[in-house]
Structure formats: C-alpha cells, structure tokens
Symmetry: C2
C-alpha cells in the first residue's frame, strides 16, 4: 500500500491519485499514488516543526549513526528499489548500480564528516585578562525544517535520500520531501528505508516525511509555510526560479538552493588539438551521450578553433558520437522537450545538424551535434540554452578575442572546461581571469560529467546555474546550506 509518509506513518486521506510511467515500455505503471491533502501537508509541517528543537540540539555522533542506519536499510532493500527505479526511469540496471553506490557512499561521507572533532565549531577568539574584551565562540546552528524536491534525473542520488536530504539531516534539520512524480514508487521505498532507520534511533519520527503530488499545489503550500526554513531543489530553470520567487515573497524570506542546469561550455585551444584529438573525441562522445545526456554537467556547448585540427576534431567527435549507444529518455515529456529545443535551434540558426538517423530504442534520446560559428553564437540567444539530452552545439571561433567575446556573453554555469596545453594556459591568463567568473568548477583537459562526491567538490555556479553560487549541492560542504553561524559570548 503506497501513500504519503508522515512521521513514520502511511497516510492516504486524499481521493486524487496519479501513476508513474514506464519509459522503456512506453506505458503507465500500475501503482497508484495519493496526492497529499491540505490536512496531510499541515500535519507533516506541524510534526516537522515540533521535532526541530530536539533534533537541532542532538549530538552530531547520533546523527552520524542515523545516516549509517539509513545506508544499511537501503542495502537491505536494494533489489526491490532497483526494480522500481528501472521501471520508473527507463534507466538501465548498470546505471542503477552506479547511482546506488554513490547514494550509499554519500551517506558515509556525511556520517564521517559528523565525526570530525568539534564538528560544529567555526572559530574562537579569546577574551583578554582584564575582562574588557569578550570571549567569543562561533559555532554552526541548524536553520529549521527543510523542503527537498526530488529530481527527475537522479531517482536516488538527488531525490528522497539524495544530497539535499542527507545534508539537511546531517545539519540537524527535519526534512519534508516532495517526491518527484516520475518515480514515486522508488521514492516511497527509499522513504520506508529512512523510516525504518529512524525507528531504530531515539530521534522523533517527525524528522522525516514524504508527500506526493504530480502538480504544484503541495509544493506551494510547503514553500510558503512559515515553519519551513529552507528549500533544496534540482531541476529546470522555470521550476527553480518559481520556488525562489515564492520563497522571497514570504513575510520571512528563506534561502532556496536550486540547481537549475547548465550548458557547461568547453573551450578548446588550438595547440591542444594536435596530440589529443583522438583521446578527447572519445571522452566527449561518451560524456555527451551517456544515459542519454541527462546530466546537469553534460557538455552542451563547444568553442573550437576554425582550423584543420579543429575540423578534424569535430569530425572525429561526430563520428564517435553517432556510434555511441542510445538510451531511452526519462519520460515522454523529457523526450518531447529534447526534440522541441533542438528544433528551436534549427529554426533560428543557420548551422548544420549532425544526428543519428534511426531510433533503436523507445523514447530514444537520438544523439546529435549542431555545428555553427562563434559569430552566430554572439547573435542567437537560443544557442546558449540548455538542451537536456545527448546534444551539443559546436561553435567555430576565429580568434582568441572572439572567444573572449563569446565567454563574456555566456551566463552563469555549473562548470566550464578548458582543453589547452600548459603553454596556452600560461599565454591566456586574461581568458582564465574571465572564466573564473563564469562557473563554479573549472575542468582542465577532461570532461565535466562524473562529479566527484567529496569535501572539495563545488557543484554550484553563478545564476542562472543555481540560485546561490556560494553553496554546493554535492559533497560534504553542502551541509553549510542548512546551517548558519551563531556566536556565544562569554559562555560555552
């Protein structure tokens, strides 16, 4: 029996239901999910607030233990989660294995982070002996109940027990998840694992709830409620910006950490292509097409010198790209938007589309490249827009000055990649200064996909890549999103 999960109890008060979709079979799944009623939303909020003070004051070591128990429960339920995951996402079991491992290990990353001695301490400034200057101890304190929105493209690693939920729980913030309607069953099963883990601790059951809705009403109620103190979101610009505006319209505005995607530009310097074209065309053809390119770090925009080497690289890349396997996309709506956004580019720009011709799988993300020029890029706005799927725009540039002009036009990005020789990097310092202000992560001579989950990752970038470039959505520093400093003067 599926239902909303409120503080450890399953609740099915509402009459409105929805179903998820199996993209691989191109048909609706059979499990019905009840949309949370106003009363259920209110109940989740009340119980979340009530659990906050004690959870916020809990020992980091106890929260650390909770995360390990969740990992254990996930492992116990791995096979049934896998079944729901593939059924609801169209992603292959091999991808499930990778994402499950990442989700599992992420729990231990945070669990270990919470074991850091004096985890909560930020700094201390001693008083003077005459007692005229106070003694100050600066610590972290958790901000309050958090709403997490599951992401369509990561049913595990960015959803019910994804980076947002894990970092909020690690911070001592109760979480209400609004499950993504593409994978409610996966979310529900993961929610049950979380509930089982909580039941083995002394924490209040109210620290976790999960609500279902395939529209926006539950999201609105949650984000506008005064008891909610922060929001984690991964998805489209439209969705993230709407939540940001909603949160800022409150009497008491709250931070929204929305990761809204990126085209992840790749800047290729001339000399770098002499030796590396073979290696890079292989790496990037996979980076663009893997899992139908449905990653926020998929490279979607290339600047390549208009030269023999440049053209050779593009031709190698096209050839390999077409030969890569194709994948079913996450949902008919994602597939529809993929085709629509490609068409918009074709309608507005004069470049050439190189595309895999025939579909071999259902709802296939048919990979392609669109080859045009930097001067056209400077004129046509849609060339800078993310096309979510296995697709990239190639712009041939004439001079480094033109490359700089393009760079200045590009809006905030999660990542920027530079392919260049050491000499070219040294020669182009002023270009590197520019790039510093474009993205949250700069990759040298490699692909942007495959985000490493660790302390030094920064997955975030200037607006519109995210709503708050100062915080990361990946890695242990993401806990900082859900804490703020507090100073104790002359005590503690």
């Amino acid at each position: 029996m599926f239902g909303n999960q409120i503080a450890g109890k399953i609740s099915c008060e509402g009459k409105r239901i929805f179903y998820s979709f199996n993209p691989s079979l191109n048909q609706q799944n059979t499990s019905a999910f009840p949309i949370a009623t106003n009363e259920e939303v209110e109940h989740a909020l009340a119980i979340s607030k009530n659990s906050f003070y004690s959870f916020s004051s809990s020992k980091p070591s106890d929260r650390s233990k909770l995360l390990e128990l969740i990992a254990e429960e996930l492992a116990l339920n791995k096979s049934i989660i896998a079944k729901a995951y593939c059924k609801e996402s169209g992603l292959l079991l091999s991808r499930f294995e990778i994402e499950f491992k990442r989700t599992y290990e992420q729990l231990f990353l945070f669990s270990n982070f919470l074991k850091t001695p004096n985890f909560e301490l930020l700094s201390e400034t001693l008083g003077d002996q005459k007692n005229t200057l106070p003694h100050l101890v600066k610590k972290h304190v958790s901000i309050g109940p958090i709403v997490v929105f599951g992401a369509s493209n990561f049913p595990l690693a960015y959803s019910t027990i994804g980076g947002d939920t894990v970092s909020a729980l690690a911070a001592g913030c109760p979480v209400i998840v609004k499950a993504h309607p593409f994978h409610p069953e996966t979310s529900f099963l993961v929610g049950e694992a979380i509930n089982n883990a909580i039941s083995k601790t002394n924490f209040s059951r109210g620290i976790f709830s999960q609500l279902f809705d395939n529209q926006y009403s539950v999201a609105h109620k949650l984000v506008l409620d005064n008891r909610i103190k922060g929001v984690g979101f991964t998805g489209s610009y439209i969705g993230g910006k709407a939540l940001f505006d909603l949160a800022n319209s409150r009497t008491i505005p709250i931070p929204v950490f929305a990761e809204m995607g990126s085209v992840n530009p790749v800047f290729v310097f001339p000399n770098s292509l002499q030796e590396k074209s073979e290696e890079w065309s292989s790496l990037f053809s996979k980076s663009i097409t893997n899992d139908a390119g449905q990653f926020c770090t998929k490279p979607g925009l290339f600047f390549i010198p208009r030269s023999e080497n440049g053209k050779r690289f593009v031709s190698m890349l096209s050839e390999k790209l077409i030969q890569e396997p194709s994948f079913t996309m996450l949902h008919p709506s994602i597939h529809f938007n993929f085709e629509k956004k490609k068409q918009e580019i074709l309608d507005q720009s004069k470049g050439e589309l190189i595309e895999k011709k025939e579909s071999t799988v259902i709802l296939e993300g048919r990979q392609g490249l669109f080859v045009t020029s930097a001067s056209e890029f400077l004129e046509i706005e849609s060339l800078e827009k993310e096309v979510f799927g296995p697709f990239a725009v190639i712009c041939y540039y004439e001079t480094i000055n033109q490359l700089k002009e393009c760079t200045e036009k590009i809006s905030g990005q999660l990542t920027a990649t530079i392919l260049a020789t050491q000499e070219e990097l040294i020669e182009n310092q002023s270009f590197l200064f520019l790039i510093n202000h474009l993205a949250g992560r700069i990759i040298f001579n490699n692909v942007p996909t495959g985000v490493r989950v660790c302390k030094s990752m920064h997955h975030g970038g200037p607006f519109p890549a995210t709503t708050d470039s100062r915080y990361t959505a990946v890695g242990s520093d993401s806990i900082l999103r859900f804490m703020r400093p507090i100073v104790y003067q002359d005590n503690y």
Copy 2:
C-alpha cells in the same frame, strides 16, 4: 569643492544639490552636494566593471597594502574628518575618537587577514594514483562590483570606509559607495583618503567611486544594474527590505546583505538578580542611553521575573537611566521617529512610561523605559518593534513557560542576552535551545552593545534582523559576503 567621486576624479555634472544638517545647532550646514546624474552613475558603473577582472586577480598582499595605505591617509586627515563628523552627526568628539579607532583598526584586521598564507584556499582533495579520481582545489573568488550604502549612525565604521567597503575591497571587489545624505562631507573626506591611497598603488582608480543623492534614484539605478553583483546596507527594515526586493527582481538576482536593526531582547532569570542587580542596572542604563541609544545592538526589550528582586532591579535601572547624560540625536527625522514610535507604544499598550522629564540638549533623545507585562507583550505587536533611541520595553513575566511563549513570538534578532546563574543555565536547557534559533549572537551576563571586531564575531541574525543570517557584517569573516567558492579540477 565637493562632488561625486568617480575613479579618482571629482564630478559635478548635475544641477540638483542638497545640504546636510547640524543637529547640535539645529540648523542646515552650508556645503552643497551635487546629486549624481544618470551619466555619472553610468560612468561609475562602467569604470567599476572595467576594473573588476584585474582587481579580482590581484595578489591578496597588494590588497593588504592598499588597506594599510587607506588607514595612513585617514590618520593624516583625522582632524578635518573629525570636524565634519561632529558637524554632520551631532555626535561628540569622544565618540568620534572611538569610532575612528575602530575604523582604523578594522583596516588592519583585514590587512592582516589578507596576509594569511594561502588566504584564498578553502580545501584540497587529492586525486588517486590511477588518475580515475580528479584532483580538486577549492578556492575563493570575488563576486564583482559591490554597492555599499553608508549608515546614518556610523559615519565612519559603517559608511564610506566601513565594514562593507573594507571587506569588499579585501575580497577584490570594486566598490561604489552611495554616501548617506546625513554626512556627505564626512563621506567625501574619507573618499578622498581612499583615492589618495589608491593613487599610491598600481590598482585601477576605478575600484572606488562614491555618489551622492538625498533620495532613492541613484540607489535604484545602482542596485538594478547588471554590472553590480552584491549590496551592503545598514539601516532601517524598510530601506533594507526595499533593496532586497529590488535585487531579487533583477533578471540575475544578487545577494543583498542588509542589517536592518533589532530590539536585542534581554532575558533575566530570577536567581541571577539576587547578587547582580546593582552591577547590571549600571551596565544596562549605560548600554541603553550611550550616544542616545542609536546602536543596532542597543537592548530594547527586557523580560524580568515578576518578583521582589525583579521589581527592585527595574527600579534601580529606571533611576540610573534617568541620571545618565542625554545626547543630541543624529537628525531631526530620527528624533521625530523616536518620539513617534514611543507614542505608538503608549497608545496601544497599558503599561507605564518612566521617562526623563526635561530636555537639556537640542534634539535630545530623552531616555525612558516602558514597563508592562509579558501577557501584554503576547498580545500587542508594537512592543516587539525597534524604537531607535534611548528606550526599552520591560515585560514582567510570571513563569518560565510564559517566558518561552514570548521567546517563540519574537522575530529574528542580531543579539539575545541572558542574565542567569550557572545553575539556571543548566536547568533551562530547553530555553537555551529556543534561543539558539532567535539570534546571531548570544551574550551571557553582559550587555550586547560594544561589538568586538574580530575573526569570531558574528553580527547578523535571522530575518528581519538581516536579509542573510549566514553572513556577518562585522569582523574578518564579513569578507565571505563578497566571495564564492570555485573548484579547479586537475590544475592549479
């Protein structure tokens, strides 16, 4: 000749002028200040943006040197700055000395902070030997040109070279100051000191400009301009919230760090009054009245047990408060609002006003206390509002539960003060948990005024005390407002 200061040049293009006011003499000053024209605003913005890339990439040690040069220039011009300061603020020379020292030393705090080895490095995670995991170096990068709004109550420490400007320059961000119209001459003289210092370095003159306006038009243009990447503000809720909304209405929203004042509640526990009433009544009578109570950390709300000890403490506090010296307020408008807000409380609440009877100085902030009950506090909203000036509301509470109820009603604060014995602190853990979520700084058995400027200070608190509780406006960590993390993958 006074005028707008744009990249080291004085500019007086406009025909509209304004004058500042001498509160001590209750008359207008004679120096005219030209309001910046649209072209002057545009010029300052263009030159600020042009200077950004090189300033952002400058060595921290060079920026450190700049701050020391500014301190030197301030010291050279101290006596003429003092004259303008007193003439424009009504504050005494003794207060000037304190604020000048704080401003001067603050420059060295940041200058030394910039000398920290690897100042820009946040963390590093090594790759593995097989080269399957990338090497990540996380650093700080400056966010771009910043607009700083001078504050009425700190003509030096929170104005042209106050905490916001110093931390932005330290971060490598060019600054445009919108001078506060109460003290344009002080601002101009400080601006000249900054310009002299910059001219002794290799930095572009464009890293500092200062514009004048006694209305809101220049502020609007600056905050809405795409080249501006952040805002620092200290002042009223209305002013700060307007800037926050303006910044969020942009196509690319930017962070606004607005410190919007506070009532700084003081929670007094019963046993603590047995021994300490004498000492505390002296400390708090000064903390409320010093410089006419025109501080954002002035204690403006007390919760005192309804007991013999409690009543005795209030009577001692009232008596000493009345005997404290009175001061001229900063401006007729500040004086008007002070009297008006007191009257609002009198009109809405049934408590008793204890007030100094006769005025002895011009535009005097006549000190007073308003004595009422916690139950009235729970009902009447205006009792929680800040009255900017030497005034506080005293609420007698009956039980610790009632005290908790009041605490839960209070909105976000810069500080909260607890007067209690060690035993009372241990007994009232659940109250302390509550307090953790109320304020940015918790003071134990002392006054909240006299903010220490150092690494571990946190001057910031939950909305509406500030628009971003995660950042401090005082101390070296305030530099974090104007930087964001960036990761270099497999290079640097």
